[in-house]
């Protein structure tokens, strides 16, 4: 039962995307589409016929599946509403956070390969840029994780989420760095613009340019899931208060309520960041991401020096 909480992420991730878009529309003075629009998009794409490039190989065809399933397996490792995850049986998926980052990387790697598969310059551009961003982001995410993992004495996400204390100096620093990482990894302004199809500025969209029909649906859905998963990860690592430690119905209901509030808060934050910032030039990114990398290093050093 507790091992099925990842289904929450699969089902509700398009909704979160819809909510962020609605928030953004509100902030920008537009009406915006309904919050269910991403669901309609996915279903419509699934029903469309596909156009494939003759240049592509099987890499292009398996990539949507690999991205989709690696995101779901990553979701299986995350405590969503309860930290009670069986950790010691052979066939249970265990919530190790380092493994989770590498499972994410599997999807990212194949996405970058598929972008090169069609032999167009746009794909290569997107692929190259995505790799650069992930080179700058990955060490930062790892350092944030190290801080929380060392504080909890475990790299298991359930153990990390069970930690009571929050908002110690080291955690606050790590939280800021992690938020920048979430913005970069979900392809949002100021790093990437999710609404653009302007060839020269796109990163994530550039990689998806050749996709259509059900493959595009899978890619989009994976992207929504990844976004919600990163929110959940931030919640688990930095403000786990309210998450259930058992699977009794009463505490699960409370936990679900608290969880939805936290995720809505994260969604609101994203909308505010996106509406108030301008997209940065690509070569200005190293200063943003490098700055937050320093924050992550500081958070680890703070924890080592003052112990909290």
């Amino acid at each position: 039962m507790e091992n099925l909480q990842f289904i929450i992420i699969i089902i509700f991730s398009p909704l979160i995307q819809g909510i962020i878009r609605k928030f953004k529309a509100g902030l920008q003075g537009r009406v915006g589409a309904g919050i269910l629009q991403p669901y309609y998009d996915i279903i419509r794409l699934l029903k469309k016929e596909m156009v494939l490039s003759t240049v592509t190989s099987w890499i292009f065809k398996i990539t949507p599946y690999i991205v989709f399933i690696s995101t779901i397996v990553a979701a299986m490792m995350v405590p969503v509403i309860t930290t009670k995850i069986t950790t010691k049986s052979s066939f249970s998926i265990m919530g190790d956070v380092i493994a989770l980052i590498y499972i994410f990387a599997l999807g990212k790697c194949f996405m970058a390969l598929a972008a090169l598969d069609a032999g167009t310059a746009f794909g290569g551009e997107g692929s190259s840029r995505e790799m650069i961003v992930s080179i700058l982001v990955e060490p930062m995410i790892m350092l944030c994780i190290f801080t929380t993992a060392i504080a909890a004495g475990s790299t298991n996400l359930a153990r990390i989420a069970e930690q009571g204390y929050i908002f110690t100096p080291s955690h606050v620093l790590a939280l800021f760095a992690f938020m920048v990482a979430v913005v970069a990894d979900t392809g949002r302004i100021p790093v990437d613009n999710p609404d653009t199809h302007l060839e020269l500025t796109m990163i994530h969209e550039g990689m998806l340019l050749e996709y259509s029909g059900k493959y595009l649906a899978l890619m989009e859905w994976s992207h929504y899931m990844k976004q919600m998963l990163l929110f959940t990860l931030a919640v688990d690592m930095f403000f786990p208060v309210g998450i259930a430690h058992n699977i009794e119905p009463s505490s699960l209901i409370v936990s679900s309520g608290v969880y939805s509030l936290k995720i809505l808060f994260m969604a609101g934050m994203m909308a505010i960041i996106e509406s108030t910032r301008a997209k940065m030039r690509f070569f200005q990114l190293p200063s943003l991401l490098g700055g937050s990398f320093v924050l992550a290093v500081l958070s680890l050093l703070t924890f080592i020096m003052i112990g909290k």
Binding site: A118, S128, M142, F146, T155, F283
Partner: protein, 661 residues
């Protein structure tokens, strides 16, 4: 059981001699002999892992010159690693060497090279070790210069110089050990070394790191790797990069960990820092390469760094008294040693197969090979995924263990270890991300898209034996990735004899570390992925129904059609990295524009860019120039006249007599 060893050695000897008998008409099936030899020696290696140390033989020629061969769990582990790679490379060589000019010589050197590596890890005393070590270096020199080209000769020279600088340090450290303990046998030295003063131990440690580090390819002693590995034929590159550089790791383990025992904490910290620097710089340089084999050679530098991160963490933890955690870190180091031998062997064999078929090493001339060489492509992809440490292949497990070992550093008492170890983890994360970018580039540019040259367009799949050699290694990548607990059980005796503790993972097909209450189960991840895959396929079918697929051109913005020249190139792919890390690369670019009518009508634009190899330019070049200038001055002593040389001898004799009296 030693009879198995003798059988294996005989097989290699016969395998070396047969090609020599008929140099011209050698059938490539002679490689069957090393293949079977590798099987028997793999059995022997496994046997050594599970028995107490075995004295194999000692041949005394004079009291000073005594050959001692001894095997223990550590040698057993390395024999096992060498045998696995030898097995598949021998099979691969059956097809690969068909087109070589000097088949017989190749067959001879191939077997002797492998035998010398076995001899290095089985040596029981100083003199045996040095002779085996030199044999290995000399034979590999001949293999590097096997293609009689000017480039190979240059690479061979650099290799010979670097490897002898390393050997000089190794000889020095052995002389010191002999002088202060009075023994030549490793086991005697090990018992006597405890009474040595710390300063002597430190000198021995530093010399071991420099001497063996040169062979392993740590930065800044790595310069020979990107020269020598691409110059050698690809089956040899696989052996050199997969296992020969591991003898350097073996030397560091044997001397710095086994013989010297637990040292002060800064030894471990030093190894950690060397590992971190080698891994980050190694992969940064790899990213800039367009020569597929040079790229892989730089990538070996990176992986040696990762191995040293595990070993360094183990030493730090041991000197802090955390023996159980130290065993886990050593497990990580050895696991990555095994893994790197397999996936780097696989990648070099794959690269060899590509070079063999396209006749170019330049990635900018490849492209679209996935359709022309489907098997090579899939095995190369498996190798790339493994080296990027992505689930569920073998690199994933060993890098996960390395991360955990580095995090254990926080449990040690000293603040230095607490700070340095997690920073090593950050370096590993950075390396991991760069490695993914690097192999996306390699695979994406050379195998995907459209063929970029006529060479690539006319490429053909390699012969069945070459494919079989790669297939075995690809399968092993998967097996060692899915069954980590069985793999660790296999070499835990070696960990036990190195650290005095063992890492036993509880549970089946699962890595569980009770100290941090976390674990990893690649098999579970694989099963979950398969289950979700089938669920996804069903879901799509139910919601979307069956739709037809239309094929068309790639998106071309409306221009008539895309040509291969419009694809993203390897240079373009890594250009942002070159710009962001320009402090490290110090790139130089050159734009030449020629005009028909200046400045309006441009005839042609020629763009070239290169990076400054930092250590070559600012360290090796001044040293080489200095030696050249010294040699120029010494030259005047060499007149070529016999009476002058006689005069030198007389003068030396008189000087010696004066000093001795």
């Amino acid at each position: 059981m030693t009879s198995i060893l003798y059988l294996g050695i005989m097989l290699f000897f016969v395998g070396a001699v047969i090609p020599l008998i008929s140099v011209r008409k050698t059938k490539n099936y002679a490689y069957i002999l090393p293949t079977t030899g590798a099987v028997t020696l793999a059995i022997f290696g496994a046997y050594l892992l599970f028995t107490p140390p075995v004295n194999i033989s000692s041949i005394s020629i004079t009291p000073v010159l005594e050959f001692v061969f001894r095997g223990d769990a550590i040698s057993g582990f390395f024999i096992f690693v060498i045998s696995i790679l030898t097995f598949s490379v021998s099979i691969y060589s059956i097809g690969y060497t068909k087109s070589l000019a000097n088949k017989g010589v190749m067959g001879f050197l191939f077997s002797i090279f492998i035998l010398s590596m076995y001899a290095v890890v089985l040596s029981g005393n100083i003199i045996t070790f040095l002779i085996s070590w030199e044999t290995m270096s000399v034979v590999s020199y001949f293999l590097v210069t096997f293609d009689r080209e000017e480039k190979s000769a240059r690479a061979g020279l650099i290799y010979a110089v670097m490897t002898h600088v390393g050997t000089a340090f190794i000889i020095a450290l052995f002389l010191i050990l002999y002088k202060y303990t009075g023994y030549t046998d490793f086991s005697d030295i090990k018992t006597a070394v405890k009474d040595l003063p710390d300063a002597i131990k430190t000198v021995v440690f530093v010399f071991a790191v420099i001497g063996f580090g040169t062979k392993a390819g740590i930065i800044p002693l790595h310069t020979w790797l990107p020269e020598a590995h691409p110059a050698a034929p690809s089956n040899i590159s696989a052996l050199m990069s997969g296992v020969m550089i591991k003898t350097g790791i073996y030397g560091i383990l044997r001397i710095a960990v086994d013989v010297l025992g637990i040292g002060p904490e800064w030894w471990g910290i030093a190894i950690l820092v060397i590992g971190a620097v080698s891994s980050v710089l190694g992969i940064l340089y790899a990213l800039m390469e367009h020569d597929i084999k040079r790229l892989l050679a730089y990538c070996s530098v990176e992986n040696i760094g990762i191995i040293l991160l595990g070993i360094g963490a183990s030493m730090v933890l041991a000197s802090n008294g955390l023996y159980k955690l130290s065993a886990i870190a050593m497990t990580a180091g050895l696991y990555h040693t095994l893994n790197h031998a397999i996936f780097k062997g696989l990648l070099f064999l794959g690269a060899g197969s590509v070079v063999h078929s396209t006749h170019t090493k330049n990635m900018e001339d490849m492209g679209g090979l996935i359709k022309l060489m489907p098997y090579t492509a899939i095995f190369f992809l498996i190798g790339s995924i493994s080296i990027c440490a992505l689930p569920f292949f073998n690199g994933f497990v060993s890098e996960w263990l390395t991360y955990q070992s580095l995090l254990f550093g926080f449990k040690s008492v000293s603040v230095t270890a607490k700070v340095v170890a997690p920073m090593g983890g950050a370096a590993l994360a950075f390396t991991g991300a760069l490695a993914i970018a690097c192999f996306v580039k390699v695979f994406g540019i050379s195998f995907l898209g459209m063929p970029r040259s006529d060479h690539a367009e006319s490429a053909k799949e390699s012969s069945p034996s070459m494919i079989a050699g790669m297939a075995i290694l690809a399968l092993l990548c998967l097996v060692f990735g899915i069954f980590p607990d069985s793999t660790i059980k296999l070499f835990s005796p070696a960990v036990l004899s190195l650290t005095g503790a063992e890492y036993m993972s509880s549970g089946k097909n699962i890595l569980y570390i009770s100290e941090i209450a976390s674990g990893l189960s690649p098999l579970a991840i694989l099963v979950a992925m398969l289950a979700i895959f089938f669920a996804a396929v069903v879901l799509i079918r139910v919601v979307g129904g069956k739709r037809k697929i239309t094929y068309g051109d790639s998106w071309d913005c409306g221009i008539p059609s895309l040509t291969p020249r419009m694809q993203y190139t390897a240079t373009a792919f890594t250009k942002p990295i070159r710009i962001i890390f320009k402090k490290i690369y110090r790139p130089r670019q050159d734009v030449k524009i020629s005009y028909t009518l200046k400045p309006l009508l441009v005839k042609s634009i020629k763009y070239s860019s290169e990076i400054t190899p930092f250590f070559d330019r600012y360290f090796y070049k001044p040293v080489a120039n200095f030696i050249h200038s010294i040699a120029g001055k010494v030259k005047y002593l060499q007149s070529g006249a016999l009476h002058l040389y006689l005069g030198y001898i007389l003068a030396t004799l008189i000087l010696l007599l004066v000093f001795m009296s």
